[in-house]
């Protein structure tokens, strides 16, 4: 097969269909999404360092461990322990490792400004395979989480406490496109729980999405994306919302 241009796929007509799809989305949402007030959009990389760095760290740690065991315990224990560790790792984090080996890190397209309280938000989740893959429609679950994080001193120690004050799961369907696996997720920022993003030295309110795909051809590892909520009550949320 001839070398494909960047972002291309090998099926005839796919590029044309993808172009029409993108054009339709832009016509529908103005600039890719309904809640984006400015031309253009931005992509948010997965911000969870744990998920992103786990597979390479594991792939490096196992051989290093093997060499150490070989040097200090001999070949037989080294082989047995490494095999056991490898099997355990594969069982425990197979989705993450497979996702890392076969897929690029996912990105989400979110609004270029903080979301308003009560706003119906739309994010677009995208994940490209490393090789051309046939992707059938699959489910995506997205957990919207608001956490309060506080720092305090106890004796001479600096302590940190985090509590989830809002958590809600929504589902969406993703499908294969020229951009890989793509799904549009809709959710509403609540007005009755959590609060606008707060960033003070010892008191913080943070929001994030934890997105996981479920399907035979897509990896099921979870990725976390941080976002911010503004101190604006969305006009759509003002109707029928009252404190009195």
């Amino acid at each position: 097969m001839a070398a494909l241009p960047s972002g291309g796929v090998g099926w005839p007509g796919e590029r044309e269909r993808a172009a029409i799809e993108t054009e339709r989305r832009y016509q529908r949402y103005g600039c890719g999404m309904a809640n984006s007030p400015l031309p253009g959009h931005r992509f948010e990389e997965g911000t969870s360092a744990v998920w992103s760095s786990f597979p390479p760290a594991a792939l490096v740690a196992v051989p290093i461990g093997f060499v150490f065991l070989l040097a200090f315990a001999g070949p037989a224990p080294a082989i047995v322990i490494t095999l056991l560790a490898g099997a355990g790792l594969a069982a425990f984090a197979s989705e993450t490792i497979q996702g890392w080996l076969k897929w690029h890190q996912p990105v989400v397209e979110i609004a270029s400004k903080p979301y308003n309280l009560g706003e119906e938000a739309i994010v677009v989740y995208r994940r490209k395979p490393r090789r051309v893959t046939d992707i059938s429609p699959s489910d995506i679950t997205c957990e919207i989480v608001c956490e309060e994080e506080v720092h305090y001193r106890q004796g001479t120690d600096n302590e940190q406490m985090t509590r989830t004050v809002y958590s809600n799961k929504v589902s969406a369907t993703g499908e294969g496109s020229y951009e890989g696996f793509v799904g549009e997720i809709r959710f509403t920022i609540p007005t009755h729980a959590g609060g606008p993003t707060l960033d003070m030295p010892n008191n913080k309110i943070k929001w994030h999405l934890e997105i996981r795909a479920h399907g035979p051809q897509v990896p099921g590892d979870a990725h976390r994306f941080d976002f911010t909520v503004s101190t604006v009550l969305d006009p759509s949320a003002r109707i029928g919302v009252s404190d009195t």
Partner: protein, 149 residues
């Protein structure tokens, strides 16, 4: 001697302002005695409460000169900057606001009076009588998501 801090509305939006009136009777006649009062400072203060170490900030402030004999009867306006936090009553964190007026007295303890106020989200005036978040709407509690934490 007492200072009166009158606030027109106890709630203001982020990006809005608190307005009110400062009233203080003159405490000197200028002949037999002079007033110790030098100036009066009005501040919008933010303070966190809860499990974490308290964070405090002066959100906005202004200084008013006093009249010759220590009296004042003047309006004031304190802006709430656009990037301010809102009053919040959460699980580990509470964000509280107060307007504090402080009379600076020479060689004496300052006179301080304050009013607790609410800073509400933009567009939230008339909808909040307490700190964010709003109470859960009835329809959401009947069939809403069960996973809400």
């Amino acid at each position: 001697m007492t200072l009166q801090l009158q606030v027109d509305s106890l709630a203001a939006e982020v990006g809005g302002a608190f307005t009110g009136q400062l009233v203080r009777q003159a405490d000197a006649d200028g002949a037999s005695n002079a007033s110790k009062a030098r100036e009066i400072r009005v501040q919008l203060l933010l303070r966190t409460e809860g499990r974490g170490t308290t964070d405090e900030a002066v959100v906005s402030s202004l200084t008013q000169p006093l009249q010759r004999y220590g009296g004042i009867n003047a309006p004031f306006t304190l802006g709430v900057p656009p990037r301010s936090a809102v009053s919040y009553d959460g699980s580990l964190i509470r964000v509280l606001y107060r307007i504090e007026a402080r009379v600076d007295l020479r060689l004496s303890r300052d006179i301080i009076v304050y009013r607790n106020v609410l800073v509400v989200p933009v567009g939230g005036l008339g909808m909040y009588t307490r700190a964010h978040p709003l109470p859960r709407p009835p329809q959401a509690s009947a069939g809403g998501p069960a996973a809400d934490g």
